[in-house]
């Protein structure tokens, strides 16, 4: 099985600024300054000059109003935190199940060439299909409810976990295997002390990709049809032609996605304290 395909990888974050000698408050000031300029331009283009018509984009005031509305009164059957909770819970459930299965299978495929040969054909068939392409199939089989969402989340999260766990095992260096053979490490100890720690960095890369894929796929699935959830906010706002609410929805999607990724990063740092973070 070859290395992760380009379609499974997401771009790396921006490289850290090398030795930016300016103090923190200056850098923060620049970021806030840029944000202020953007908001000012936005305000100018919409509220003051009306260059961008309100039907196409929202003014800052409208966005604030929409945010108040959804947070306090509710929009599309629920309030903001209820939508967020529902989406996040669905993703977490699907993600945990899929990545557990995926990591287990990936590790097994990495450790045993027989398992790898057996499971490979199915993978070659499933891998090229983008996660979003599973949505129509899920809807045909499971309808527009949560079950279909979980199926799609499962499929999106499963494949990156398998691929990265597999390559994680494969890249463990020979001397480590030789040392463990010499010390007669086998069975459960072999998994717990050799394979898993060695593959852990790759496993976490896979988990991060799985989480991002699950989140994107859930939002897409909810856009196609759902009862509640962040994607559903976008869907409803789109039908109501309510650009301010669309913006609120988009910001919530971004924020929730970012928070979950940070959460995973926190777990990663706790589980692998020895790893020097790039």
């Amino acid at each position: 099985m070859s290395a992760p395909s380009a379609s499974a990888a997401l771009p790396a974050p921006m490289p850290p600024r090398s030795a930016d000698s300016r103090p923190l408050w200056v850098r923060l000031g620049v970021v806030l300054g840029v944000l202020a300029i953007v908001i000012a331009v936005w305000y100018l283009l919409t509220t003051v000059t009306g260059f961008i018509s309100p039907a196409r984009f929202a003014t800052p005031a409208e966005v604030f109003g929409a945010l108040r509305q959804i947070a306090i009164e509710g929009y599309s059957n629920a309030r903001l935190h209820e939508h967020v909770l529902r989406s996040v819970l669905l993703v977490t459930m699907g993600f945990v199940v899929a990545s557990s299965a995926g990591v287990a299978l990936g590790l097994a495929m990495g450790a045993s060439r027989s398992v790898e040969a057996f499971a490979n054909p199915i993978f070659l068939l499933l891998r090229p299909i983008p996660p979003l392409a599973w949505i129509p199939l899920a809807i045909v089989w499971l309808g527009l409810g949560d079950a279909a969402k979980i199926m799609v989340i499962f499929v999106s999260a499963f494949v990156p976990s398998v691929i990265n766990s597999y390559s994680g095992v494969r890249q463990i260096e020979r001397p480590i295997f030789e040392a463990s053979a010499m010390l007669d490490v086998k069975g459960w100890r072999y998994w717990r002390e050799v394979l898993i720690p060695g593959a852990l960095p790759s496993i976490f890369t896979g988990l991060r990709l799985s989480l991002q894929a699950s989140w994107t796929t859930l939002v897409a699935a909810e856009l196609v049809g759902a009862v509640a959830g962040l994607g559903q906010i976008l869907n409803q706002a789109s039908q109501d032609i309510y650009p301010a609410m669309i913006l609120v929805g988009m910001a919530s999607v971004a924020l929730a996605g970012w928070t979950m990724t940070q959460g995973l990063g926190w777990i990663e740092r706790r589980v692998m304290p020895w790893r020097v973070q790039p």
């Binding site: 380009a6 840029v34 944000l35 057996f118 199915i122 983008p130 089989w141 053979a181 856009l223 669309i246």
Partner: protein
Amino acid sequence: MIQPPLSPARFWALTAAGALSFATLWTVAALSGITSREFLPAPWDVIARFAQLVAEPFAGYRLHEHLLSSLQRFAMGFVLAVVVGIPLGLLMAWFKWVDRFVTPCFEAVRFVAPIAWVPFAALWFGTGIGGPVLIIFMGAFPPVLINTYRGAKFVDRKYIEASQMLGASHWTTMTEVLLPAAMPSIVAGLRISAGLGWQSLVGAELIVASSGVGYLMVKGQAAVSTATVMSGMVAIGVVGLLIDVALRRAQGWIEARRGL
């Protein structure tokens, strides 16, 4: 235990066993009569449907015409991302103030999944070609920008110093020093970009399109024709693979030319 590679006989036996078990499970489930053949088609039903879609129109066009439609949108969005991303990346790497201005904006927007732009795409473009192109752009743009920026930023200082000593202008430095040096990184970014762009296309076509493979799948889903949906999935997978293979070839060719 370092596993030695399997003997060819054992490898192919296991591979065949894996493929066969999968096909058998699927066929048994389809033929068992738990559900209708429309709902869970047998493998050969899917193949037959695929051939049928190539021959007869469904949802307006035949399969390859849908594919062409999708590819057109993909190409437009991808080219747009490249045309905006590479120059911007070079500018950001060379002019610090551009970097400082663009990076916060970029980081803020980056975390919005491309699919979340669908409502605005629908609002601004209806079911015209602009909608999917916008979403593909949103998916394809970040990797191009990031990889161009990284490639140009980490150019060996001596090339920059040599060009400055020879009196190179900003434009010359960017086009003749930074761009060639960043090429490997850029091409790697293009591969990722193409993959993400193709995925975003699929998502976009599920909602804001009136032709294309994603649209085909949605129509198949509405007709509860699993075979149609699966044919669409196969087509999408194959084309996605071909795009990746083509770009990988291009990457190899560029690296060979540069003697890497």
